[in-house]
């Protein structure tokens, strides 16, 4: 038990040190410092939300366009940023391999965690800002909102866990990532509920872990004003499979990694 406690202490120390290191490296200590982490998702979500508001009118399918698009876009930026951050994460963090208490999983996790915290801060900021203006509803079911977001995050992280080691093994992957993340937008549930689609498309969406997390989130925000359909099995099973593959790949890549 005491060795577990000691391990846990080291783990916490390492994670917090890595977070601070990453924030200082990326954002420095000038002006708003680490608050930059939420600026990108914030700008994306608000600006795309406003664009859609003027393209589609104030509401679509009975919900606020701005709130719908903003809530989707936060998830999309989380996914895109954390995927691009996990590419070549082993090589760029070579200097960390000099300290045996730092494991490769630590810095893959830390990079994801920072993106997740940034996305959540942006989300909270947007919600608080738009609620008094009537563009954003008070969440109908906070539990569903958090649950849906957690599922979405879990799956995104499991994907990073696979892509990080794969990107070290293959140079082609790095070049394929941008186009893949773009093509998957329709399968991410960002701009529509499954129930708005044709029955054929709905069958496909059923197998997208992103869509399942997003549907649950949307239900948490809009409640019964949207016809949300979700299942927990697809995102949970998908995440578990990717986590297992990712762990095996990380172990393999760490063994053959050449550190300068």
């Amino acid at each position: 038990m005491s060795s577990f406690a000691a391990g846990w202490r080291i783990q916490r120390r390492v994670i917090s040190a890595l977070i601070i290191r990453e924030l200082v490296t990326r954002f420095g200590r000038e002006n708003i410092g680490f608050l930059w982490v939420m600026v990108e998702p914030l700008l994306f979500a608000t600006l795309v939300g406003i664009l859609w508001r003027y393209m589609k009118g104030p509401e679509m399918h009975g919900v606020s366009v701005v709130a719908f698009v903003a809530s989707g876009y936060i998830g999309l930026t989380l996914f895109r940023n954390s995927v691009s951050r996990s590419i070549r994460v082993f090589s760029v963090n070579g200097s960390l391999m000099y300290h045996r208490q730092i494991k490769v999983l630590d810095f893959i996790f830390v990079r994801f965690l920072i993106e997740m915290i940034g996305a959540m801060m942006a989300f909270g900021f947007i919600a608080v800002l738009l609620m008094p203006l009537g563009y954003f509803p008070i969440p109908a079911d906070l539990g569903a909102l958090i649950g849906g977001w957690s599922l979405y995050c879990l799956f995104t992280f499991s994907l990073c866990l696979v892509l990080a080691p794969l990107s070290e093994l293959s140079d082609a992957l790095e070049k394929l990532v941008p186009v893949t993340t773009y093509v998957m937008i329709p399968f991410s549930g960002v701009f529509n509920m499954t129930s708005w689609l044709t029955p054929e498309a709905q069958k496909v969406m059923y197998y997208s872990p992103f869509v399942q997390g997003m549907e649950l989130m949307r239900y948490g925000i809009f409640g019964d004003r949207v016809n949300a359909q979700w299942n927990l099995g697809v995102p949970l099973a998908g995440s578990m499979i990717f986590i297992l593959i990712g762990l095996a790949l990380c172990r393999r890549v760490r063994r053959v990694l050449v550190v300068e």
């Binding site: 040190a17 601070i20 290191r21 200082v24 490296t25 200097s95 000099y98 045996r100 550190v259």
Partner: protein, 215 residues
């Protein structure tokens, strides 16, 4: 103790593999000072990296029953875009030391002054060595891994390293890769001569130096 059992390490080279280490057995006892001798490319740095856990052996295993420093060499271990102070903060955090303690020691030992507020990538190799040495000596290890680096720096810095490493910490184990006959003869109790991926340990340092000179 550190036990190394049949360590091999190979790297991909073209379509084949380059076998750098072909089966190294080595035991390091507490307080023992081992010199690693070998020509450039003999695998000294690779072996030190394996012992330090920076890279993993292709086969074989390493058991560490004492705390082992990270390998102190010309590269590695720093985040170049961070300042000397930020690197010190990071080291203090991950090793569970008080930052103020580490900072005081680093300022005093490295004598880098205001340069510590600059990103490490702007440092010369001598300055990096000073910072690296200061950081690893600020953390108490049972065994220090030192790769060549001791030759860097001016006479005054040599003097300090000498005191901190060979006098104050003479009870610690030391693994020390060097081409300097003088240093190995003066400070090592035994030496490992690396040649063609194999290592031979010589309890008599002078004999090891003779073998090395004949390579």
């Amino acid at each position: 103790m550190i036990h190394c059992d049949q360590l091999t390490k190979s790297y991909p080279m073209g379509s084949g593999r380059k076998r750098v280490l072909k089966g190294i057995d080595l035991d390091v006892r507490p307080g023992q000072h081992i010199g690693f001798l070998g020509r450039n490319g003999a695998g000294k740095t690779t072996l030190i990296k394996l012992i330090g856990g920076v890279e993993m052996p292709t086969s074989g295993r390493i058991r560490r029953k004492m705390s082992v420093s990270w390998p102190l060499g010309f590269g590695g271990g720093f985040q170049g875009s961070l300042t000397g102070y930020d690197n010190a903060r990071f080291i203090a955090r991950i090793y569970g030391y008080e930052y103020s303690e580490i900072r005081d020691f680093v300022e005093d030992f490295s004598e880098l002054g205001a340069q510590l507020r600059m990103p490490v990538k702007t440092y010369s190799s001598g300055m990096r060595a000073r910072l690296g040495f200061a950081l690893s000596l600020a953390i108490e290890f049972d065994c220090y891994l030192i790769d060549e680096i001791i030759m860097v720096g001016d006479a005054n810095f040599h003097q300090k390293c000498h005191y901190e490493l060979f006098e104050k910490r003479r009870d610690r184990a030391l693994i020390f890769a060097s081409h300097s006959f003088e240093l190995v003869r003066e400070f090592c109790d035994c030496a490992l001569v690396l040649d063609d991926g194999l290592g031979t340990i010589y309890p008599d340092v002078n004999e090891a130096l003779e073998v090395y000179a004949a390579l």
